[in-house]
């Protein structure tokens, strides 16, 4: 094989790899990107039942109920709209009423069924998505971080 051909072989392999990777990335983006919604967004926009999304806001005071079968019911609020959430499993250590929370799951006939609940590992910290959701609903009271 001539030098030029060899170089071409490697360029072809590299292009093939990049092409494959690009195709994989695009296909994965199509199916696996999870959009973030605040409770108000969820009420205003049409979100198809069964599409995987993230919901963020504050855990409404007095809304957390632990029911049987390891299921926890609570409501997430941006102080304008609230959404009922049901979650089966262990809540993260920093999950608390009045604190920011991000839940991932699917909307099911008006109830958000979460299979993952994230609370930051820092109780003074507000997830940025939640802070933004509160700002949008005009209910932001905290200070911006220095």
């Amino acid at each position: 094989m001539k030098r030029k051909h060899k170089r071409l072989t490697f360029v072809a392999i590299a292009l093939l790899l990049l092409g494959t990777a690009a195709a994989l990335v695009l296909a994965a983006f199509e199916d696996n990107i999870v959009f973030f919604y605040s409770p108000t967004d969820l009420a205003e926009k049409q979100v198809a039942d069964g599409r995987r999304i993230r919901l963020g806001g504050l855990v409404e005071e007095g809304s957390v109920k632990i029911s049987g079968g390891a299921i926890t019911l609570f409501r997430v609020t941006d102080l304008k709209t609230t959404v009922a959430v049901s979650y089966k499993g262990l809540l993260p250590d920093l999950f608390r009423e009045g604190q920011g929370v991000v839940a991932e799951g699917r909307l099911n006939a008006g109830v958000f069924t979460a299979d993952e609940v994230l609370a930051k590992h820092d109780e003074t910290y507000m997830p940025p998505e939640v802070a933004e959701a509160l700002k949008k609903s005009g209910q932001w009271q905290g200070q911006d971080k220095k």
């Binding site: 094989m1 030098r3 060899k6 072989t9 490697f10 392999i13 590299a14 790899l17 990049l18 494959t20 990777a21 994989l24 990335v25 296909a27 994965a28 983006f29 199916d31 696996n32 990107i33 999870v34 959009f35 973030f36 993230r54 632990i66 029911s67 049987g68 079968g69 390891a70 089966k88 499993g89 262990l90 809540l91 250590d93 920093l94 991932e104 994230l118 930051k120 590992h121 820092d122 109780e123 910290y125 997830p127 940025p128 998505e129 933004e132 971080k145 220095k146």
Partner: protein, 663 residues
């Protein structure tokens, strides 16, 4: 007073580094020997000053000096001693100080043990090292001074985040940083070589051990982090494709590629430009990793230190380092002449394929990690890119690479024939088939990917053994001859074989834990029994207790299999007294075939506890495989050619730990 000494030492270190960054570089250009000679004492002095500064901060933590802001925010008098020490680097400012400490340690190692380096190259390497250091000193002194005082001093501190009060995580950052900063050596050598316009085998011999050592530390560091997530977060998983994890994984991918391509430069005098580029990319990703985690740009489940105000400095620094080095590369790389030629089917070709796949994988991970940030920055909405994305992209890229990994080492340098190599691998193919059948029989209802994955691991494992057998001429010559061949095999070759075997074991563990995990979440009352993967977990209730700086709720599970008692598991929930924060301590029982994993949660009104029980197959294989890989790397470091070819260099490696202890 201690704080002021530390602060002052840091300022002096900045001044020395500035001098070290300029004088030797000009000296090397103009040929002024005395200017070049300033590099070595400067590097050693710089290390001394940073060590003083680090010592001061440690002292402040040990004495719980709450007039210093950093100590107030991250320590408490009731904290155990080891976490007072670990607290030094468990925060943004302190971790940067650790970073420059390691950087200056490596710089002084080159200065002290680099007598056999050409003086020009040495001067330039040290100068580039100092440039990186200047950036870090400025960043610390201007935006993140660990010695800032607070007035009035509070009575006690705010304590370290309890999740970080853990032995695994106490040594995780230093390991990770030894890895990140280790790649700065490859970077400095690459930049120096670009300035010089010359790359040869001697250069590669210097770069390789540094890269190897950095790789070992990074591998260990990542694994420690993953292990910590596994037992401390209580989610039963060990890798979440979290941005913070990706931040350390990208340099690992690029660094692994660099490790392989530097072999080609050393042995075959080719792929020079590519190797230089990889060195630049690897260190750039290390910098990006450090800053992504520390700047607060990432929303992550475990980003512990966050302050967006530092973002501008970081961005500017990254642009200067990455942009500058890539510009230099574009300008100078065409001058690097490679003499070695090779056919696509050859050892070089296989290593290049490895490199291309690793680089593509790193790029895909980078895209997935940064895309949400970019989209948010241009106002495209908030999204998250999670494990499904990374699994869908990363795994298909790795499959051909692992398949080729068994073949690559059998190919000869320069020109090889694929057919005999594949013929020799029939045993591996047979073994892989048998393993897949067995896995299919055991886990018929599990995912097909699991069966394929375990077969791939078997293929790599047996294929690597076949290659070793071929090298020893096993069963072709008398056993005693094979044995003497075994003894003559260089340690670097052993390193390769062992590392590949280790990876095969790790892959098997990942596949097992990923594909065949059994999970069960439920509310349990005392006396309840739940069966998970054939193990009966009987819940005996929970009781309250007390630890040194926390209170605990401890659950008790008795586990039986077929009526026989296996183990008693005691998962805990801890509440730390100072911060009122909770942590979950999973109870894990490790066996050869899998881990029994139990977590206890809150009590519901009926008196039942929420519990999470897992059977995670083959997890121990994953950790064991990594331990083999790291040991293989260390073994390769002790190879004869590192000692004979360049005597001072391997000593430099060996002393690294000794010097830290002595500092």
């Amino acid at each position: 007073m201690t704080a002021e000494i530390g602060h002052f030492a840091l300022i002096l270190a900045l001044l020395i580094a500035t001098m070290q960054a300029t004088l030797p570089l000009i000296g090397a250009h103009k040929g002024y020997g005395s200017w070049m000679a300033t590099a070595r004492p400067a590097a050693v002095t710089q290390f001394g000053l940073v060590a003083i500064s680090f010592g001061c901060l440690t002292q402040l933590y040990l004495t719980s000096d709450f007039s210093v802001l950093n100590v107030v925010q991250n320590s408490h008098t009731a904290k155990p001693l080891i976490y007072k020490i670990a607290g030094v680097w468990a925060n943004h400012e302190g971790s940067l100080l650790l970073w420059v400490l390691i950087l200056s340690l490596f710089g002084s190692a080159v200065a002290v043990f680099g007598s056999n380096l050409p003086p020009r190259l040495r001067a330039r390497v040290l100068s580039v090292q100092a440039m990186i250091a200047v950036g870090f000193y400025l960043f610390m002194l201007l935006t993140s001074n660990p010695f800032e005082r607070v007035f009035p001093a509070p009575i006690n501190g705010q304590d370290l985040n309890p999740l970080l009060q853990d032995p695994g995580l106490a040594i995780h950052p230093p390991m990770l940083y030894l890895g990140y900063v280790g790649f700065s050596m490859a970077f400095s050598f690459a930049i120096a070589a670009l300035i010089e316009g010359r790359v040869d085998a001697a250069w590669a011999r210097w770069v390789r051990p540094w890269t190897l050592a950095a790789w070992c530390f990074l591998t260990g560091g990542i694994t420690l982090g993953s292990w910590w997530a596994y037992y401390e977060l209580g989610w039963g998983g060990w890798w979440f494709w979290d941005p913070v994890e990706n931040a350390s994984f990208m340099p690992w991918l690029a660094g692994t590629a660099l490790l392989h391509s530097s072999t080609v430069v050393e042995k075959r005098d080719t792929l020079k430009g590519w190797t230089i580029l990889l060195a630049i990319i690897t260190f750039s990703l290390s910098l990006l990793g450090t800053f992504l985690v520390r700047s607060g740009v990432l929303t992550s489940v475990h980003a512990f230190a966050t302050d967006p105000a530092r973002g501008v400095f970081i961005l500017a620094f990254l642009i200067i380092v990455i942009g500058g080095s890539l510009a230099l590369f574009a300008w100078r790389a065409p001058q690097l002449v490679s003499t070695g030629v090779f056919q696509p089917i050859s050892r070089e070709g296989a290593l290049l394929l490895n490199n291309l796949i690793m680089a593509t994988a790193a790029a895909a991970v980078l895209l997935g990690t940064l895309y949400p940030l970019l989209l948010d920055a241009i106002g495209g909405g908030k999204i998250s890119v999670g494990p499904p994305f990374f699994n869908a992209v990363f795994i298909p890229l790795m499959v051909p690479m692992i398949a080729a990994m068994a073949v690559g080492p059998m190919l000869s340098w320069k020109r090889a024939d694929l057919k005999p190599a594949l013929t020799r691998l029939w045993t591996a193919a047979l073994a892989a088939g048998a393993i897949m059948l067995a896995a299919w029989a055991l886990f018929a209802d599990g995912p097909v990917m699991g069966v394929l994955g375990i077969g791939l691991a078997g293929w790599l494992f047996i294929g690597t053994l076949v290659e070793l057998g071929g090298r020893l001429q096993l069963f072709k010559v008398p056993l005693s001859d094979s044995f003497s061949r075994l003894r003559r095999t260089p340690r670097a070759a052993w390193g390769m074989t062992l590392a590949h075997l280790g990876l095969a074991i790790t892959i098997a563990g990942m596949v097992g834990a990923g594909a065949w995990r059994t999970e069960s979440i439920q509310a349990m009352k005392p006396g309840d029994t739940v069966t998970v993967a054939g193990y009966e977990f009987t819940f005996d209730g929970a009781k309250d207790g007390k630890g040194p700086n926390y209170s605990i709720t401890e659950g008790t599970f008795r586990v039986f299999k077929g009526g026989k008692a296996v183990v008693t598991l005691n998962p805990e929930k801890r509440i730390y007294m100072v911060s009122k924060r909770q942590t979950t301590e999973a109870a894990i029982h490790t066996t050869f075939f899998g881990d029994l994993y139990a977590v206890v949660g809150d009590q519901d009104p009926s008196g039942a506890y929420v519990t999470r029980l897992y059977f995670n197959p083959l997890v121990a294989w994953m950790w064991g495989g990594v331990v083999i890989m790291v040991c293989a790397g260390c073994l390769s470091l002790t190879d004869r050619r590192h000692r004979i070819g360049a005597p001072a260099k391997s000593r430099a490696q060996g002393r690294v730990t000794a010097q830290t202890a002595g500092a």
